[in-house]
Amino acid sequence: MSYLYSKKTLVILGFVILLIMPFVLAPFNLNLLGRFLAYAILALGIGVLWGYAGILSLGHGIFFGFGAYAMAMYLTLQSGGIPDFMGWNGITELPWFWAIFSNPIVAIVLAIAVPMLFAGILGFFTFRNRITGVYFTILTQALVIVVTTLIISQQQYTGGTNGITGFDTIFGYSLNSVATQQMIYWTTVVFLGLVFLICYKLVNSRFGKVLIAIRDGENRTRFLGYNTSIYQVIVYSFSAGVAGLAGMLFVLQVGIITPSMMGIVPSIEMVLWVAIGGRGTLIGPVIGALLTNGASTWFSQTYPDAWLFFIGLVFVLVVVFMPKGIMGIISTIQARRRAKKYGKGRKEEAKLYNSSSI
């Protein structure tokens, strides 16, 4: 019987449930779930960066945004002609950095490559200069301000605060048809599975162990002869790429991207999904993203005022008293049961399980 409960089986089961959802949910709800799954991908990237490497970025909104904009630009060009906001702003010819996005392959590659490259370059300088911890976090906030202000002020190229919206087709198919939306949903689920798998491999590899070592004692790891900054750059860049992918999938299901989705507050909220789900795990970020957004959609409609009190309180309580989030609670319960069952001696082992890596 027990093999039924092995974690692999359950992950696969969850995955299968997600896959059959299009046959269960109405199109509107499916779209909602698909959007949350895109967030879950984003949360996975942040989860690896923060939970395993100990790097807290409050600027992941911009990487998410990059991916979303790249896809939105492709979709806009699909609809033909130059975007209408360029027209109002007196731009009659498509600038080259727009033109390249008319090729879907280029758009998809850039949606992931640009965030990776950008994070790589910034990370290279920042981590090499040993800017870590709180300083790095604050620096990413400055980055958010720079990028969003630029996007808003260059509205002749970016659509400004209105962002980019109003696409109708993708690869020649109507974007809003139920069949296309189902395909997009499945694509999202598959990518979630892939990203999960990659993250799993990553954190359980030697590379992952070094990341954890850096998180727990950067200097110590450096003295052991590891070039810690290279590890940090790579994981930061990886996480940015995942965010770009998530943004791309997000825009396909929501049909709009604006700078307000990349700002300071959304960027903090993304981190809080991970905190609620449980940092230092991979399931945690996924559950945190799904649960927080699900609850937000549900409750904030019903009780908009009480919701803010509630979510504020949840953030405080989770961060202060349950630093390991939902997954932490689960392991604590497990540990207690195990302790009850096997007596005190198992306490140590239970602690070890707490840091198990999935």
Partner: protein, 425 residues
């Protein structure tokens, strides 16, 4: 041994899914029950899942930000729509049926607007949505109403350059607010303009229009400045104002920034006697946040003021205050939100159905005596004929009208009837 963890993981998944599906179930179970007699007007916690819809009622969607940064402006607009719905229901409803409002929160977040619009159209089957405020949120809803052939009634003045068959634009188009204001200022105040706006679509488009118009009139733009959202330090801008010494500052700043700008302008000792500021986003509601004493003597261009002298307005203002409190004020977007419900109701009566295409067809040429004067839906572009009014801020925070266009102006969102605007179209 980790079955617990995974069991809960599974449970959470199921929970999310059920959250997604909750809307469906509620709609199903609610069907067929008797409709609630009276709706709480100001109940912001209106629960969409509890609204009961049957054959004797017509569901409509109200989609505004009730939370987040835009809640400041949008809750008042929601209140106005609710007032109109309540009045119409008291008079027997539409097609003999009761209008049932389903209130959704856009949360000042564009994806939420688009998602909520989908929900209203797909799940609640509303016949029309009254809502949105910012251009970004309108544009987020636009593809949704177009895809599902729904109707959106939009209550706010905007930058124009848009005409969707599924949207009725009830605020002013640029030629019903900006163009006449520039003309009037040029004739009555002076010919050098300082353009100041927040860095987003409306101010940038408005200023292009003003630039083109002034080129045509022979006026001059001495400087054009944009400040980011939430900007609070206007000293450098004020230095530029001193340096360029304009006759007029044409102000397209949005809500919050106005407070900082006007306060600092007053502190710098620049009053309405030195330079006239004409604003297009400062209504009665905003004056309360800025303070009437620093605004006194400055101008605004709108289609409606709380002081607008029509019998309809007298009733409207007193009803509004009765419903929401003596200290509340009305204003242009609030009034537009109010009369657009009546326009929709008349169109439905005319069409004899709530079916979108029929309503759209019937809407062309519908007229109504709104608080701001007579309004009429222009069948060509689904905007509204409105009277243009320039008002001066008084010490009590109200406007005194100094000029009006005399008759409703035909809306021209693409400025097709103005030769100088060719480059912008």
């Amino acid at each position: 041994m980790k079955k617990y963890k995974w069991g809960i993981a599974l449970f959470s998944t199921v929970f999310i899914l059920s959250a997604c599906a909750a809307g469906d179930e509620a709609a199903d179970t609610g069907f067929g029950e008797a409709s609630a007699g009276e709706d709480e007007l100001s109940d912001s916690e209106e629960n969409s899942e509890e609204v009961v819809v049957d054959e004797d009622s017509i569901p409509v969607g109200l989609l505004h930000s009730l939370s987040g940064t835009m809640a400041i402006s949008e809750t008042s607009v929601r209140d106005a729509v609710m007032l109109a719905i309540d009045e119409i229901n008291e008079d027997g409803g539409v097609l003999g049926k009761e209008i049932v409002p389903i209130v959704e929160d856009g949360a000042s977040d564009e994806p939420v607007f688009s998602e909520r619009a989908s929900k209203l159209l797909q799940q609640d089957d509303v016949t029309a949505i009254f809502g949105t405020w910012t251009s970004a949120s309108r544009q987020a809803v636009k593809p949704v109403v177009e895809e599902h052939n729904g109707l959106l009634f939009y209550p706010v003045q905007y930058e124009g350059m848009e005409s969707s068959p599924n949207i009725f634009y009830n605020g002013a188009a640029p030629n019903q607010q900006i163009v006449p204001a520039v003309e009037w200022l040029f004739d009555n105040v002076g010919d050098s303009f300082f353009l100041l706006g927040s860095d987003y679509v409306f101010p940038r488009t408005a200023n292009q229009i003003i630039q083109a118009q002034l080129d045509d009139l022979g006026g001059e733009v001495v400087r054009e400045e944009y400040t980011p959202m939430g900007h609070t330090d206007y000293n450098t801008i004020i230095s530029h104002i001193r340096d360029t010494d304009p006759d007029v500052i044409f102000n397209t700043l949005n809500g919050d920034s106005n407070v900082a700008f006007f306060n600092q302008l007053a502190d710098a000792g620049i009053t309405s006697d030195d330079v006239t500021v004409l604003s297009v986003s400062v209504a009665e509601e905003e004056i309360r946040g800025i303070g009437a004493e620093v605004l006194e003597g400055h101008l605004a261009s709108w289609n409606y003021y709380q002081t607008t002298d029509t019998p309809e307005n007298e009733t409207f203002v007193s009803n509004f205050k009765e419903a929401y409190g003596e200290n509340r004020v009305t204003g242009d977007p609030i009034e537009a939100a109010y009369f657009m419900v009546y326009l929709w109701a008349q169109a439905v009566e005319e069409a004899g159905s709530t079916e979108t295409d029929a309503v759209r067809e019937a809407a062309a040429g519908i007229t109504f005596d709104a608080p701001n004067g007579p309004v009429e839906i222009d069948g060509d572009n689904q905007h509204v004929y409105k009277t243009v009014r320039i008002g001066e801020v008084q010490s009590d925070g109200q406007f005194e009208e100094v000029w009006n266009s005399g008759e409703p102006v035909k809306p021209d969102p693409f400025l097709e009837n103005y030769d100088w605007a060719e480059a912008i179209q």
